[in-house]
């Protein structure tokens, strides 16, 4: 009986879980192994007898060295970081104020405004990139980080507002009312009483917004043109492929290094990220 139950647990639980884990993580392992494999081993016939694709006996860092010294990869990392941080800060600022107003204040058309912010949350960037490119050109913002810093908030603000609005609604009104009885202004009560309580919500929104802007691709692809101004995703796609030739070692090294910053931020704040993720859909 007990043996049968244990056998069942293996088949219905551990085995599927193991398949999920391997399936999910294998591409990352493959990135790593490709990045540290010497070129001579990378391009070997797939039917070669001594072919051992899953590990290497001569790990090398030369792909990373090439990437850091012969390309503008470090610059791309800095660009991505700068753009992600500034656009996250702008979005948090706007989202905090708007979320508070929608959660707490009574004013005409509050419902309509809330709904329209939610609808803009669902507008995908691919719907608007062509007219937006024209507008960026007209504002003379093309090929500057500001083109992205000002357009990323379009998909970050609705999300931050939505998440923080939900968070503010869980904070009891009595806290502000007490502060106001003690003589605080509405604005003062918001900034000094409510915002500090909302710090976990702000962190969730911030982490989530940061990863979203780190990952953004299509606006960065269209609005930036000089190699040294690009972000990591666009730089890897457009600068590391010369003609039709793919330098897979370098590409995978770039993919790995470009993923590590978000992965690190994420690993420190997993719980906040998960709150942001689940809160972003539930509101």
């Amino acid at each position: 009986m007990l043996i049968e139950r244990r056998w069942k647990k293996w088949v219905y639980f551990y085995l599927p879980l193991a398949v999920f884990v391997i399936g999910t993580l294998f591409p990352f392992y493959w990135m790593l192994i490709t990045a540290i494999r010497p070129d001579a081993e990378l391009y070997r016939s797939w039917r070669a007898v001594n072919n051992a694709p899953f590990w290497t006996l001569q790990p090398t860092l030369s792909h990373f060295q090439d990437l850091m010294t012969r390309t503008t990869f470090p610059q791309w990392l800095w660009n991505t970081f700068f753009i992600a941080v500034v656009s996250t800060a702008i979005s948090l600022f706007c989202g905090l104020l708007a979320g508070y107003a929608l959660a707490r204040l009574k004013f005409p058309m509050a419902g309509l405004l809330g709904t329209s912010i939610f609808v803009t949350y669902l507008v995908p960037p691919t719907l608007l990139f062509i007219p937006l490119a024209d507008i960026i050109r007209n504002f003379q913002l093309g090929n500057t980080p500001w083109a992205l810093i000002l357009t990323y908030p379009t998909f970050l603000i609705p999300f931050c507002t939505w998440l923080l609005m939900g968070y503010f609604k869980t904070i009891p009104r009595e806290l502000e009312e007490c502060a106001r009885i003690d003589g605080a202004t509405r604005f003062g009560a918001m900034v000094r009483i409510i915002f500090p309580i909302a710090v976990p919500g702000i962190l969730s929104a911030g982490i989530f917004a940061f990863t979203l802007s780190w990952n953004e691709f299509i606006y960065a692809l269209i609005f930036l043109s000089s190699p040294e101004k690009k972000t990591v995703p666009v730089g890897v796609v457009s600068e590391l492929i010369r003609g039709d030739i793919y330098f897979w070692g370098q590409l995978m090294a770039g993919a790995l290094l470009g993923s590590i910053p978000v992965a690190v931020v994420y690993s420190f704040f997993v719980e906040y990220y998960v709150t942001g993720l689940t809160g972003s859909v539930k509101g």
Binding site: P27, W30, T278
Partner: protein, 320 residues
């Protein structure tokens, strides 16, 4: 009790009545005590940015789609010509049906696998937190970069998947992963599922954790087996979360761009284009802004339908 005094009468003078010694500072705090005015001030930055970079581009996109504008060439009003042209274009038709096919299958796979994974992660086992955290990696790593890893795994000459299948004796010649249109679209569906499934799993897991275990216990006391308990207890309670997640996923998948751009670039022979990648090819790569804008606007009816479902559902929740 205080509320009526502070409440939105729209009258700044309403605050005068606060019976408190410190109201002596009133003159400085006047304007922002008005609820409507404060709301307007707080909402201004968000509304300004969204208006400038969402509403305005949208109006402009509609105008572009009705004109013959191309790069460096101010166009004229041409009515629905761009839409008719796209509708009769065989590549556009392929792209549109690819998008529907891609969205449909990827969503089904993501929901089924995500639900399965959520149920597995809802149990207690050692290392649960680590497994759960690592499962989200595909979702947080830049899609473009992980898609490159997949492209390398699907490489025509050095594909590791072909190697495994060959060594395992499943195939005798290489599978044309990305060099055959049908295979390539399925590869894209696989990659999209790989990337999006964690989002389903983690969100559904959060939903699962709100289900009272007593319900399951009661059901099993009544003789329900695991399968019955899932369909009669878990699934009905998870439906609200599931609907919201599916709506989000449909919107993102239907408007997907980067995955196809990196994996196949729309090829071979334009057979794997999605609406968004084709709009990019026409609007940006070729420079025909009017036609490109028209093509991307073909996504709108589908997205509106999905948003409408979502909003109706939210209303019903608020009404309840």
């Amino acid at each position: 009790m205080r509320r009526p005094i502070a409440g939105g009468s729209g009258d700044a003078a309403g605050t005068v009545a606060l019976p408190h010694p410190r109201t002596g500072r009133r003159p400085r705090r006047g304007a922002l005590e008005n609820e409507r005015l404060l709301a307007a001030v707080l909402l201004a930055p968000a509304v300004l940015l969204l208006g400038l970079f969402i509403a305005y581009p949208f109006v402009m996109g509609v105008w572009l789609s009705l004109s013959s504008t191309s790069v460096g060439n101010v166009g004229q009003f041409v009515g629905l010509k761009n839409f008719v042209k796209a509708w009769n274009d065989s590549i556009f038709q392929t792209a549109f049906w690819n998008t529907v096919w891609y969205t449909g299958w990827a969503t089904i796979f993501k929901l089924a696998l995500g639900m399965w994974l959520a149920l597995l992660l809802n149990r207690h086992f050692r290392g649960k937190r680590l497994v759960r955290a690592s499962m989200l990696l595909p979702f947080i790593v830049p899609t473009v970069l992980s898609t490159f890893a997949w492209r390398w795994m699907f490489d025509p000459t050095f594909s590791v998947l072909n190697w495994v299948l060959y060594q395992g004796g499943f195939i005798t010649t290489k599978l044309p992963f990305l060099s055959d249109g049908t295979y390539a679209l399925w590869c894209a569906i696989v990659v999209n599922t790989w990337r999006g499934m964690p989002f389903f799993a983690i969100t559904l897991l959060a939903g699962l954790q709100t289900i009272n275990p007593d319900l399951h216990e009661a059901a099993s006391l009544d003789g329900a087996n695991g399968w019955q308990r899932f369909w009669r207890v878990t699934w009905p309670l998870l439906k609200p979360v599931t609907l919201v997640v599916v709506v989000f996923s449909i919107i993102q998948t239907f408007s997907d761009f980067q995955l196809i751009y990196v994996l196949t670039g729309g090829g071979p022979a334009n057979s794997t284009h999605l609406v968004a990648t084709y709009a990019y090819q026409i609007g940006v790569a070729t420079g025909l802004l009017g036609e490109g804008a028209a093509i991307s606007l073909f996504m709108l009816p589908v997205l509106l339908l999905v948003v409408w479902v979502q909003l109706r559902y939210l209303r019903r929740l608020e009404g309840a």
